[in-house]
């Protein structure tokens, strides 16, 4: 069995177990009506059934064609892009969301995707301009400001 078939099945089982555990203190049935735990418990049972079915399917498929992860360079691009995505909301309280997003777009273009400097800076300016015009100017969304007040 391929790990790519088994791991999602195990995660589904783990999620089902977590749901069963978390709803143990809630009522399954209250007087004449199903309680708050009713559907979650049934979903946990369905999760366990699907775990078995998925394992059976994985066993039938056997080792087959090995699962192809993206190449190391491609995977690194995805990982760095995601790291940038995580960093942006973390930076927002310090420098403001607009500046954090500008830093994220510049980082992605110049460091991760290795694009030329001037087109990248132009893209940063256009992106931030659009975000500001739509969300702040038009929709009136108060984006978090940082220590610089931007």
């Amino acid at each position: 069995m391929r790990p790519s078939d088994v791991v999602p099945a195990l995660l589904m089982l783990a999620l089902s177990a977590a749901i069963a555990f978390d709803t143990r203190s809630l009522s399954f049935w209250a007087d004449t009506t199903p309680g708050p735990a009713f559907l979650p418990v049934w979903l946990a049972i369905a999760g366990a059934v699907l775990f078995v079915l998925r394992l059976a399917e994985a066993r039938r498929l056997g080792s087959g064609v090995p699962f192809q992860w993206p190449e190391r360079v491609a995977l690194a691009r995805v990982a760095w892009a995601f790291a940038g995505l995580v960093a942006a909301p973390l930076l927002a309280p310090l420098v403001g969301l607009v500046l954090a997003l500008a830093a994220f777009v510049a980082f992605l273009l110049l460091v991760v995707l290795r694009q030329a400097l001037w087109p990248s800076l132009t893209t940063v300016a256009i992106t931030i301009g659009l975000v500001y015009a739509i969300f702040v100017g038009w929709l009136g969304v108060p984006l978090p400001k940082g220590m610089l007040g931007i």
Partner: protein, 499 residues
Amino acid sequence: MEALQLLGQGFATCFTPLNLSFILIGVVIGQIIGALPGIGPAAGMALLLPLTYGVPPVTAIMMLAGIMYGGQYGGTLTSVLVNVPGEAASVMTTLDGHQMARQGRAGAALSIAAIGSFLAGVGAVVAVVFVTPPLAEFALKFNAPEYFLLALLGITATASLGSDSPTKALMAALLGLMVAMVGVDPIQGTPRLAFGQQALIEGIDFLPVAIGIFGIAEVLASLERSEQAAAMRTRLRDMWLGAKDWAESRMAIVRGSLIGFFVGVMPGAGPTIASMLAYIAEKRVSARPERFGGGAIEGVAAPESANNAASHAACIPMLALGIPGSASTAVLLAALILHGIRPGPGLMTEQSTLVWALIASMFIGNLVLLVLNLPLAPLFAALLRVRYAYLAPGILAISLVGAYANTLNFTEVWIALAFGVIGWFMIKLDFPRAPLVLALVLAPLLESSLRQSLLLSFGSLKIFVERPLAAALLGCVVLSLALPLVGTLRRAARLKRVG
């Protein structure tokens, strides 16, 4: 006749400067999103949903619907000129469309795709006009058991029809239902599945999940590719079709439209399956099937007509029953809910202006798209030469702000990021994402109607078989689960015999 009168009122609602401009914005954005490989209409709709908070619900829904069907037109450009489907429903178009482009007939391929899509789209909207009202009226007879089974059918049918592996699709749907359970129990108000986290007690909203699972995940997956295939050029004078092209493709458009319509109405099947079935059917009825894959114009006309017909037809169960048939209609339904509108059979009467304006906007939108895709096709083709690397960071930035703007809370951003990773893994492991989103949208209806049913019957499950309508729906649910299982068992038996 009443339907035509209401449609007339719908047109009157559309013909305001604000609504007309938002229809135009919607279809242009849809066209561009469809043309961009790596981001589909559902993702585009989810990303742009927060932008609709500033306009009336009717305007917002018309714009989002424009993105939905505009995406079907836009996907053709990339399929024909780059040999990469702009979105999943255009995958069959690459087979013959790109071959036509290599033979110097890119213009003819784009033309027939635009005309086929337009005719199929308008035909499907005409059917929406006449099929939706009686279906909604019939659905007014539904009670809690029927609603529960209908919501369940929406989920099981999506899982069984829309994927190669029903277990994978069912796992995705189950994950969606589990996510929907987080928060406060809708009947007793008891907090559940918050795992001690204060932020989770309010539940997990649809929007950050959709932004993550479609928008962020698709952009992350597309960042794996470092190179961008060059787009072929096309000129306006190449767009003319000859008499032979018309003769070869007119019946393909009719057949593709019909297949697309019937597949689109079925929950879960959607435009991608419709275009595949239309292509297979066209090849089967062709007197010279060997031409398919080598630049047959019918191989472009049929799938393109089918995907647009299916995209519109999926609105029938969404408007009449409140059950979305595809990922895009799930986002549309969520948009209705976010704008404070309760979907369901009552929608046709309670929100008559909105529904008929939406239907009328589809006629207008298709006409605009025909113009965009015939004389202006070379202009949009030029857009394909913009490097995707310059667009991806902007899409991700808008995803983050869109998630934040939903409740002005960074929790939504973290949820979107978490589902971005989940969505990326789902793409890599070949898990369909539409069942998760559909289940998330349908979960409140499913749970409340199940519990109401059992309350009515004092806990007896007989309520689901005693009522004829409920029994018929239960039969459909069982069938939707049994058919793929039978298929899997037959495939396994055949493999055993061969090997």
